[in-house]
C-alpha cells in the first residue's frame, strides 16, 4: 500500500517536472539553445499567481490565466531583448546570456518583493480520495491530469496545425525552413511564448503542492526538469513527458526505499547510466552525421 502512495506522489512530482521540461525541450528543439532562465520564469509565474490570489483576490482560474499572460509576455520579451541579437553568435555566448538573464530575474525579484518567503494560499482544498486503502490527494490527481491534458494539446498542436508543422520544420533545418517561406524568428518567438506559458502553469501546480514562494524558487525544479529533458531526450516532447515522470518516481522511490540522504545521487546515477547506453536520451532522435 505504501508503495502505491509513493508511486502516486512520484507521478505528481514528475508531472510538474514534465511540464517544466517541456519548456526546455521545445526551446532546445527549435532554437538549439539551453534557456537556463526558464526556472526563473517559473518563479515570476509563482509571484504573479501569488499576487493575483492574495492581493487582488482573483478566482483561481483567472489567477492562472493572469500568471500565464505575465509569463508569456516575459518569455517573448526575454527572447527579443536577450537572445534574438545573438542569433548568429556561438552557442556558448547564448548560454552565458541565459545564465545572466536567470540572475537578473532572481535579483529583480529580490529587490521588488524582498527575499523573505511568502506562503502560497491553499488553492485546492486538502482533501484526499480513498482508492482501495490508498489515499490520493486531489492536488496530486489534478497535477497529473493537467500534465496529461497539456501534453496531449501540445502534441496535437505540433502535429496537426500549420504553425506546428512550421515548428517541426525549423527544428529539422532552419535554413531550408527559411527557403520554404517560414518566418523562423516568428516561430522561435511562438516557441518561447508557449514554453513560458507552460512555466506559469507549472508554477501554480508547484506552489499548490509546495506553498513557498521565494526568489530562488525556480532554480532547483529548473535543474531537475532540465535533467528530465536530457533523460527523455532533449528536443523530444514525449521524451520530456517520460523523462519528467520517471525522474519524479525515481526520486520518491529512492527516498522511500534506499535513503533520504542519497536520493539525488541515485537520480543522477540513473541519468548517467541512461546516457551511457543511449547518449541521446530515452526517446532522443539518432543523430546521423552525413559525411
Amino acid at each position: 500500500m505504501a508503495f502505491l502512495s509513493y508511486l502516486i506522489n512520484g507521478l505528481g512530482l514528475g508531472s510538474v517536472y514534465a511540464i517544466i521540461a517541456l519548456g526546455y525541450t521545445m526551446v532546445y528543439g527549435i532554437a538549439k539553445m539551453l534557456n537556463f532562465a526558464h526556472g526563473d520564469i517559473i518563479m515570476i509565474g509563482a509571484y504573479a499567481a501569488f499576487f493575483a490570489l492574495n492581493a487582488f483576490h482573483l478566482p483561481l482560474l483567472v489567477a492562472v490565466l493572469f500568471s500565464v499572460a505575465v509569463c508569456t509576455v516575459l518569455g517573448v520579451l526575454v527572447e527579443r531583448l536577450a537572445y534574438k541579437p545573438l542569433r548568429q553568435a556561438t552557442s556558448l555566448s547564448v548560454l552565458i546570456t541565459a545564465i545572466g538573464v536567470s540572475y537578473f530575474l532572481q535579483n529583480s525579484a529580490q529587490l521588488l518583493w524582498s527575499s523573505a518567503t511568502k506562503v502560497f494560499p491553499s488553492v485546492i482544498s486538502g482533501g484526499a480520495l480513498n482508492l482501495g486503502g490508498v489515499s490520493v490527494s486531489y492536488l496530486t490527481l489534478i497535477t497529473v491530469l493537467v500534465c496529461i491534458v497539456v501534453m496531449t494539446c501540445l502534441t496535437l498542436f505540433i502535429n496537426r496545425t500549420k504553425t506546428g508543422s512550421a515548428m517541426r520544420a525549423c527544428s529539422e533545418d532552419k535554413g531550408a525552413a527559411t527557403l520554404m517561406g517560414i518566418n523562423v524568428n516568428r516561430i522561435i518567438s511562438i516557441t518561447f511564448a508557449i514554453g513560458s506559458g507552460l512555466a506559469a502553469i507549472a508554477a501554480v501546480l508547484l506552489c499548490a503542492t509546495y506553498p513557498s514562494v521565494y526568489p530562488t524558487l525556480g532554480s532547483m525544479p529548473g535543474i531537475k526538469a532540465f535533467t528530465a529533458a536530457v533523460f527523455g531526450g532533449i528536443g523530444s516532447v514525449p521524451g520530456a513527458f517520460l523523462g519528467g515522470l520517471l525522474l519524479g518516481v525515481i526520486e520518491i522511490l529512492a527516498k522511500a526505499y534506499i535513503s533520504t540522504q542519497l536520493s539525488d545521487a541515485i537520480v543522477f546515477t540513473v541519468l548517467i547510466i541512461v546516457l551511457l547506453i543511449k547518449p541521446t536520451g530515452l526517446l532522443g532522435r539518432k543523430i546521423s552525421e552525413k559525411v
Binding site: A2, N9, T117, A128, P211, I252, K255, D264
Partner: protein
C-alpha cells in the same frame, strides 16, 4: 568639544602620516587607527552586529534588530551609560557576514552582538577573536560560534558568548522534556536537515539523550537544500512507523511545508520543534491553523505575566505591531547583559577596545544576570550560557507557555 575636535584632527593627521609613511599598503595599521579615532570622538559605546534582514531567515534578523533597538533606547533614556547600535544585513550568508564585519570595524565597533544565525557567526567568530572585540550572540546557537574546534569542544575563543542555548543543549533538553511528558506520545520520528550544522547538532544530541532516557525513536528522515520541498516520503514513513511525535530540529521555513503536507495527507502527530520553529506564525500568508498544537522548546514566552516581559511585549507591539518572539527576547537580554557588565566594570566609550573586551570578559565570567529569557543566568568561561528552557505551545495562532 574643542578638545575632541583637536583630538580628532590630530588623529586624522596621524592616520594620514601613517598611511604616507607606509605607502598606504598597511591595512592593519590604518584599521586600528580608525577605531581609536572613533572612540576618541564619542561618548556612546559602539555596539555592532549583523543578521538576516532579508532572505529566508529574515524573521530572526528583524526581531533581533527591533528588540536591540528597544533595549538601546531604554538604556540611553536612563542617562549614564550610552550605547550606539549599528546593525548590518548579512542575509544569513557567511560571506556577507564577513563583509558586514569589515563595515562594522571601519565604523569603530567596540562591542558586538555578533550575528543572529549560526553559520555566519561561525564565519566571523575567528575575526572577532583575532581583533579582540567582545561579542555575545543573541541566537547563534551552534558550538562553532564559540569553539575553534566545535567537534571536540576545544579551543573556545574566550571573548565570544551566547545568550541562547547551544544546539546540543536544545537537543538534550528536548529529549528530557519528552521523557518527562510521556502523555504527548511515546513513538518519535525525527526529520532533520543534514546539510546544516544547526539541525544535525541538535539531532545528534537528541538521539544520544533519547537513548539514555529511554525514548523510542521509530523513524529518522533527512533532507537537504535541494530537496527541501517534498516531504511526502518522510511523513509517510513516520506515519507507517506509528510515530505520534515528530521532532523537527529545523528552521520554520521547511517546517511550514512539513505541517502543510502532513495536514493534506491527514497525518496529525504532535510536532515538537526547537528555537528555529519560533517565527513560524509571522510567515507571510501562513495558515496559522496548521501550527495549532505545535510544541517548541524556547526560553521565552510572550504571555508570561512578570513586569519585565509585560513591559517588553507592550513596547515591542506598540513599535513594530507584532508579538516579539524568542529571538527578540534574546537580543534584548544580550544588550542588557552588555550594559550590566559595562556598568559593573565602569566601562566608558573612550577606553581602548582591548580594555573594554578584557573588562567585559571578566564580568561575564562572574556576573549573574536576570532577564526575559531566564533568571540567575550565568556564563561559563567558554561562552556557553546556563539557564532553564520553557515549553511553549501554539494555541489559537499565538505562542502560549505550557503550565506544568
Amino acid at each position: 568639544m574643542t578638545f575632541n575636535k583637536l583630538m580628532k584632527g590630530m588623529l586624522a593627521a596621524a592616520t594620514v602620516f601613517t598611511m604616507v609613511a607606509c605607502g598606504g599598503s598597511s591595512a592593519p595599521a590604518s584599521g586600528s587607527d580608525s577605531s581609536s579615532a572613533a572612540s576618541g570622538g564619542n561618548t556612546a559605546i559602539k555596539i555592532g552586529g549583523s543578521g538576516p534582514l532579508t532572505g529566508g531567515a529574515a524573521v530572526y534578523g528583524n526581531a533581533v534588530k527591533n528588540a536591540a533597538e528597544i533595549a538601546v533606547e531604554e538604556i540611553n533614556a536612563k542617562g549614564g551609560l550610552q550605547f550606539e547600535l549599528n546593525f548590518q544585513d548579512d542575509a544569513h550568508d557567511t560571506e556577507k557576514a564577513v563583509t558586514a564585519y569589515g563595515a562594522l570595524k571601519d565604523w569603530g565597533m567596540q562591542a558586538s552582538i555578533l550575528t543572529v544565525t549560526s553559520a555566519p557567526g561561525a564565519a566571523v567568530a575567528p575575526l572577532y577573536s583575532e581583533d579582540g572585540i567582545f561579542a555575545i550572540t543573541p541566537s547563534g546557537s551552534s558550538l562553532a560560534v564559540i569553539y575553534k574546534d566545535a567537534a571536540n569542544q576545544t579551543g573556545s575563543y574566550g571573548n565570544i558568548f551566547q545568550m541562547c542555548f547551544t544546539d546540543p543543549n536544545q537537543g538534550t533538553a528536548s529529549a528530557d522534556y519528552l521523557a518527562a511528558h510521556k502523555d504527548l506520545g511515546s513513538k518519535i520520528a525525527v526529520i532533520y536537515k543534514n546539510d546544516e550544522n544547526y539541525s544535525t547538532g541538535i539531532r545528534d544530541k537528541f538521539v544520544n539523550q533519547a537513548a539514555e532516557v529511554g525514548l523510542d525513536i521509530v523513524y529518522e528522515g533527512t533532507f537537504d537544500d535541494s530537496n527541501a520541498t517534498d516531504f511526502s516520503v518522510q511523513l509517510t514513513q513516520a506515519k507507517e512507523n506509528g510515530a505520534d511525535i515528530v521532532f523537527l530540529p529545523i528552521y520554520y521555513d521547511p517546517a511550514s511545508l512539513i505541517l502543510k503536507q502532513a495536514d493534506s495527507m491527514g497525518y496529525a502527530p504532535t510536532f515538537f520543534g526547537v528555537d528555529g520553529m519560533d517565527g513560524i506564525l509571522s510567515l507571510e500568508g501562513f495558515d496559522k491553523s496548521l501550527a495549532e498544537g505545535v510544541y517548541l522548546l524556547t526560553p521565552f514566552s510572550a504571555d508570561a505575566s512578570d513586569d519585565l516581559t509585560a513591559n517588553f511585549v507592550t513596547k515591542y507591539k506598540e513599535k513594530f505591531g507584532e508579538t516579539p518572539n524568542q529571538f527578540a527576547a534574546d537580543a534584548y537580554d544580550a544588550i542588557y547583559a552588555i550594559a550590566m557588565a559595562c556598568e559593573n566594570a565602569g566601562v566608558t566609550a573612550d577606553m581602548s577596545t582591548a580594555d573594554i573586551t578584557a573588562a567585559l570578559v571578566s564580568q561575564f565570567g562572574s556576573m549573574t544576570f536576570n532577564g526575559l529569557t531566564g533568571s540567575d543566568v550565568t556564563w561559563a568561561a567558554t561562552g556557553e550560557v546556563s539557564k532553564a528552557p520553557k515549553a511553549i505551545i501554539i494555541k489559537d495562532g499565538v505562542y502560549v507557555g505550557v503550565q506544568d
